[in-house]
Symmetry: C2
Subunit: 357 residues, 2 copies
C-alpha cells in the first residue's frame, strides 16, 4: 500500500494532530472522542455550525473549521460515520446558547448519529436543526443511502451557512438558508480509479485500465455505468447535462424540528435549472487528479453552461471533497441569488479554504 | 492512460484557457507564444517578477500569477522548458520600466532560455536579473542539471519576492532578496509512484509495489536510493534530517548582472541550520498524495525540528509543486527573519495561493 502513513489505525488521529499543530491559531483537536473545533469556540451570540461524516473525504469536513465556516467537525474512521458521542461532545464544546446547525450528508449512518445527537442535545437544553444535503443526481438509491447522496453541495452549504452564522442569522433562518442551498444545488461525479482504505490495504473495487465509472459516489460506491474512458470534454458534458437537465425533484424527508423537539415530515422540492439562472460552478477533484485537469474540465463546463443559458458567476476549482486518492472529478452547480453571493464572498479562514483574511 | 484530458498535445493550452476563464479577474493567458500574465499588467512603478519552466509541476508556476506574487509565468510542454521567445514576450507584456526579476529553477534548459531572454531584453532596454534557485539537497548532479536542482524554495521565493515587488523594492534589492531566500532554503523529496507524461502515455519509470525512492526530482529523475516503503514518520525524519544537517554548501554560478548587462561569476554560500533558527516549514504533495498524509508528515516534522532546536514560525502544507499525479512528498525548510516573515504574511491573490485579500 503506497501511502504516507504510520499504522493504518492511526491515520485519522495523526493527521488531525498534524493539522491542529499546523493551524493552532484556527483549530484545536479533541482526541477522545475525536473532533476538531474552532480554537476560539464557543463564539458568543452565534449559532454553532457543525458537520461530520466518515474520514477519507478531506478536506471535507475537518479542513473547513474556522472563522466563517464550521465551528466543529466530527470525523469517523475512513468511510465510517462518526459516533453520536463525538457529535454531542462537539455540540457541548462549541454551542454558545444560540443553537446548533448540523449539516448532514444523506447517508443512513450519518443521519442516524446526528439525529441521536440532536435529541440528546435537546435533553440538555441545546436547540439543534439537522439539515440534510442530498445533491447527487447520479443515483436515487445507493449502498449507504436511501434517496440521493450528499456530496459537493455540502462544501458550499458549509461556506455559506458559516458566513451567515457570523452575521448573526438565528437558527431558524440559518436552517432555511442551508435547506435553500441544498435545494438549489446539484452534483454528479466520475472516477478513473478506485481508492484504498488504509485499514483494508486493497482497492475498494476493480476497474480495467481502459474503463471509467460515471456517477460514482465519494466512497467509490457504484454509479450509473462503467464505460470506456472518454475525453475530458465528453466527460464534462455528460456530467453537466445530467445536472442541468435534472428534472423537478420532490421527496419527503424527516427533519428534526429544533423548536418542537420532534421529528417532522418535510417536503423538499428542487426546481430544474432554467435559462437565465446564475450559478456557482464547483469543479472538484476526487483526490488524485491534478489541478490542470480540473481546469480542462472547467473550460468545457463554461461552454456547456453558456449553451444552456446559465451564467457562471462564481467558481470553486480544486480538491475539496474526495475519496482518498481516487482519480476523478465531480461537478456541482448551485443556483445563486444576491444573498448567497454575498455570503459566498464573505471572508473565511480555515485550514483548507481561505480568502479575505 | 487515466487522465481527464482531451488530446495530449492540448493539455497545457486547454488547462490554461480553463484557468484564465475561471480567474479572469486575476490573470490572462496569451496563447501564441503561450504565457500567463496578471490581467492588470504592466503595474506601473513595480519590478515585474517572472518565472517559468516545464509544465507538469502545477500549481507551479502558472497558478501563482496575480497580485503579490508573479507578474507572468511561462510554461513549456510537460517537463520541457519554455522557449526564450515565450519569456521575452512575457517580459515585453509585463515590464513597467522598473526592470524584471526572473526566478529560475536550476535546470540547464531553464537557465539557458532565461539567459537568452535576459540578453534580448537588455538589447531592448529592459533590465533583467536572473536569480537561480538550487535548493534540493538530494543530489549534486542530476539528469537535467549540474549542481543542485531547484524545487520547493521556488514557490517560497515567488511569494516573498512578489510581496516585496508590491512594496516597491527596486531590482537590485529584489535580486538580493531572492538570492537570500535561495541561500536560506533547503528541500528534499521522495515518491511512491511514477507519473505519466500525457504525450508519452506510459509511466516515467518502473517502481515495485513495495518500493519508494528517496531524493527523487520533480520530473521523476533519479534520487539517492530505492528502498522498501518506510512509515510516514521514518520518511519524514529521513528527509528532515538530511535538510537540517546539510553542511555548509558553496558553489560558483554565473548570474546575469542587469546593470552591467553581462554574465558575472557569483559565489553562493548556504550556511547550515543552527539551533535557535526560526523556519518556515513547507510540506508539499507531489500531486497524487492526499492532504491528510501531508499533515501526518507535518506532525513528525515538527517533532524533528523541535529536537534539532529549530522553531517553526510559518507553515505551507498542500500540493504546490508537483510531478503530475505522482504520489510522494517533499519538505522545504526556509530560515526566516523579520523581513521574510513580513513579506510572507503580506496579502496574495493568485489562482492557487490566496490570503489577506
Amino acid at each position: 500500500m503506497k501511502k504516507l502513513i504510520n499504522q493504518p489505525e492511526d491515520v485519522v488521529s495523526e493527521s488531525l494532530q498534524g493539522m491542529a499543530a499546523a493551524h493552532e491559531d484556527l483549530i484545536k483537536v479533541n482526541l477522545d472522542p475525536i473532533f476538531v473545533y474552532r480554537s476560539d469556540a464557543p463564539v458568543q451570540g452565534k449559532v454553532a455550525v457543525i458537520s461530520g461524516g466518515g474520514s477519507g473525504h478531506e478536506p471535507t469536513h475537518v479542513g473547513y473549521v474556522g472563522r466563517g465556516m464550521l465551528d466543529a467537525a466530527c470525523p469517523g474512521d475512513v468511510f465510517v460515520s462518526p459516533t453520536s458521542e463525538q457529535i454531542i461532545e462537539a455540540i457541548r464544546r462549541v454551542h454558545a446558547g444560540a443553537g446548533v446547525l448540523n449539516i448532514v450528508k444523506c447517508y443512513w449512518d450519518d443521519m442516524d448519529v446526528f439525529a441521536e445527537a440532536a435529541e440528546q442535545a435537546h435533553s440538555e437544553g441545546i436547540l439543534c436543526a439537522n439539515i440534510l444535503i442530498d445533491d447527487d443526481v447520479a443515483v436515487s438509491e445507493s449502498v449507504y443511502s436511501h434517496g440521493r447522496r450528499g456530496t459537493g453541495a455540502t462544501v458550499l452549504a458549509e461556506k455559506i451557512c458559516g458566513a451567515a452564522a457570523e452575521e448573526d442569522f438565528d437558527l431558524t433562518r440559518l436552517a432555511d438558508l442551508c435547506r435553500r442551498v441544498n435545494l438549489n444545488g446539484r452534483s454528479m461525479g466520475m472516477a478513473f480509479t478506485a481508492c484504498t482504505i488504509p485499514i483494508k490495504g486493497t482497492p475498494t473495487f476493480e476497474i480495467e485500465e481502459d474503463q471509467m465509472e460515471l456517477g460514482i459516489g465519494i466512497h467509490g460506491e457504484p454509479g450509473r455505468e462503467r464505460m470506456k474512458i472518454k475525453s475530458a470534454d465528453e466527460i464534462t458534458e455528460m456530467l453537466a447535462v445530467e445536472i442541468i437537465e435534472d428534472p423537478f425533484y420532490k421527496r419527503t424527508i424527516q427533519e428534526w424540528d429544533a423548536t418542537k423537539a420532534e421529528w417532522v415530515n418535510v417536503e423538499l422540492e428542487n426546481q430544474p435549472f432554467q435559462r437565465g439562472d446564475q450559478v456557482l460552478a464547483f469543479v472538484n477533484g476526487m483526490g488524485g487528479t491534478p489541478v490542470p485537469e480540473l481546469y480542462i474540465a472547467y473550460r468545457k463546463l463554461e461552454q456547456v453552461c453558456t449553451e444552456k443559458g446559465l451564467t457562471i458567476v462564481r467558481r470553486l476549482i480544486g480538491t475539496y471533497i474526495t475519496a482518498l486518492e481516487m482519480q476523478g472529478v465531480s461537478i456541482t452547480l448551485l443556483r445563486m441569488d444576491d444573498e448567497l453571493l454575498k455570503l459566498w464572498d464573505a471572508p473565511v479562514n480555515t485550514p483548507r479554504l481561505r480568502w479575505g483574511i
